[in-house]
Symmetry: C2
Subunit: 333 residues, 2 copies
């Protein structure tokens, strides 16, 4: 299901990152970096994650010269059970709130809903927010790493950060041109340390349906980015989408998870970044700035989510996945 | 934030219930009741919940004489961590999927998003689904009940069921007239066995803003129902909304949680029903049928969600709440 939006534009973005993200080749596009630890002066890791999401909203308002009262709705979600970082972060904003969940595909889901609502003209703007935190995810989804425990090379590293984007009906220089809502996929993978393999088929399906729905060739886009497949998942996608859909992803394609860290220096991060904030740390920073400079003019951003439930995995179920796509375009004057 | 929808109508609904719900005064409006146990022939309770949600979609398609291919999008959420009942239930439907989470306010959130998307004319229809299961919730949110353990009188009982509704742009006899997106509230409550007290202020705020946004008096509606405040929460709301907003809720007001069970006979259910499926078990059954018979013509349905995170509660945070409202109206010919 692909929407072509009429009136949805990006007004501004904000990015708060943690200290592993400081070494990112794209760190200069972050607004703020917490360099010291994983607590950011909060009492718990979960409250630390909440702080990242909350600060990203406050900063976005400041950058956009807007007050809370001028925002019509916030749409947000995160990985914590009951999307709790989002709800506690948004509590004090006093802005109507819709909670969403697509795991690491959450940012695009929220942008699609916001853009559709703006197209109805019932609302004039919306903030979309998400967060993730390496250690809250480790606590919740995986076992704590024991001394001597090693992760396999295919494991990705959940990024730490908070990200927000302000979508508006007021024309700006970057348009949210379209959005494709993904379907849930199950390729039979049960390995929680190989999320790239889980999510690649969902990305392939969504890219193929996006192109089909709009009658476009992949070469329509200057840049195609998936969310957090990582260095192995990225190659799986390229192979899979060529074989099953006859789509060639050339050098215009990359993956935010593969891009986010400096894998040469950061040896502990094996297959790249992941988490709901991984894609926004590239998309709302580097990609947004490159669009503003017209370095790119048409980009396709495909966020990828592993709908991973520890309970269902313990019960021998496969890990499901989903991918949602949006396209951004420079508005020609 | 209140939307007045132009083109969103109810085409049909479906309700699957568990065996505690068999004794409901409103059970005759359910499409199917599982009478025997909590497993429904599945291997785990979580898979049993998934079955309820999945069957409600299949039954809705059958009742509406539609195939899966004719559905543009499914919007769903539930209480299980990572809204897993929804994603596993929808996996085999092969329909684009948006996951949402507002705890027990989820049904109205999904209807508001679906109705807005239908108003853009990008989609022609959407299924909104939710589920809850008494024992999966007990497992996940509260401690198992030990022998001799008693719940306080204010505790509600999570309803077991799956519920779906088909929203369409094609004119039917019942219109989704408006929707109000709620704000997150915190009234300082930490008692997980008194969710009615947690959620009543959110319901009051949303009802008041709904009336204000649309310039309406509460007497505009023939029927006002909250989602799952229960018998104590319902009284708290009446008192609170009178005192803080000068709104009088008279005999036209009731609460789905207070209505759902036969509290005279079902002594183990103390304060009434709750859970995301509690409100739909009344709204998509009894209310929908009464609207079709024009017994009611204008109804305001306010689903109420406690954004309850065990992790955040253990860390001494309060329980947050939210309420989303929709109004339904009989279409006069």
């Amino acid at each position: 299901m692909t929407f072509k939006f009429k009136n949805a534009y990006i007004e501004n973005t904000s990015l708060i990152a943690g200290y592993y993200e400081k070494l990112s080749p794209y760190a200069k596009y972050f607004d703020k970096i917490y360099e010291k630890d994983f607590y950011f002066k909060e009492k718990s890791l979960e409250q630390a994650e909440t702080k990242l999401l909350s600060e990203s909203i406050d900063l976005l308002l400041k950058k956009s010269k807007k007050t809370k009262d001028e925002i019509d709705v916030i749409i947000a979600g995160d990985l914590l059970n009951q999307i709790t970082s989002s709800s506690y972060a948004i509590l004090n904003k006093n802005i109507p709130f819709l909670g969403v969940y697509s795991a690491c595909a959450t940012s695009n889901e929220s942008i699609i809903i916001a853009s559709a609502m703006i197209d109805t003209k019932h609302i004039g703007n919306a903030i979309c927010s998400t967060s993730s935190h390496n250690l809250t995810s480790e606590k919740q989804f995986r076992n704590p790493i024991e001394y001597g425990g090693l992760k396999p090379k295919t494991a990705t590293f959940t990024a730490t950060g908070g990200a927000s984007i302000l979508i508006t009906s007021k024309k700006t220089d970057i348009k949210i041109e379209s959005g494709t809502i993904g379907k849930i996929m199950d390729l039979g993978v049960k390995d929680a340390n190989n999320m790239g393999a889980v999510m690649a088929p969902a990305a392939a399906d969504t890219i193929a349906r996006h192109l089909f729905d709009l009658g476009r060739d992949i070469n329509y886009y200057d840049l195609i980015l998936t969310g957090d497949l990582g260095i192995f998942g990225k190659e799986i996608l390229k192979e899979f989408i060529k074989k099953d859909y006859n789509i060639i992803l050339d050098s215009r394609y990359d993956d935010c998870g593969a891009m986010l860290y400096n894998l040469e220096k950061q040896k502990e991060i094996t297959a790249g970044g992941s988490g709901p904030v991984c894609a926004p740390l590239i998309n709302y920073g580097f990609v947004y700035q490159m669009l503003k400079k017209k370095h790119f003019k048409k980009v396709l951003l495909v966020t990828t989510g592993a709908l991973f439930s520890p309970t269902f995995l313990y019960q021998k179920n496969n890990i499901l996945s989903i991918a949602h796509a949006i396209s951004l375009e420079v508005v020609e004057k």
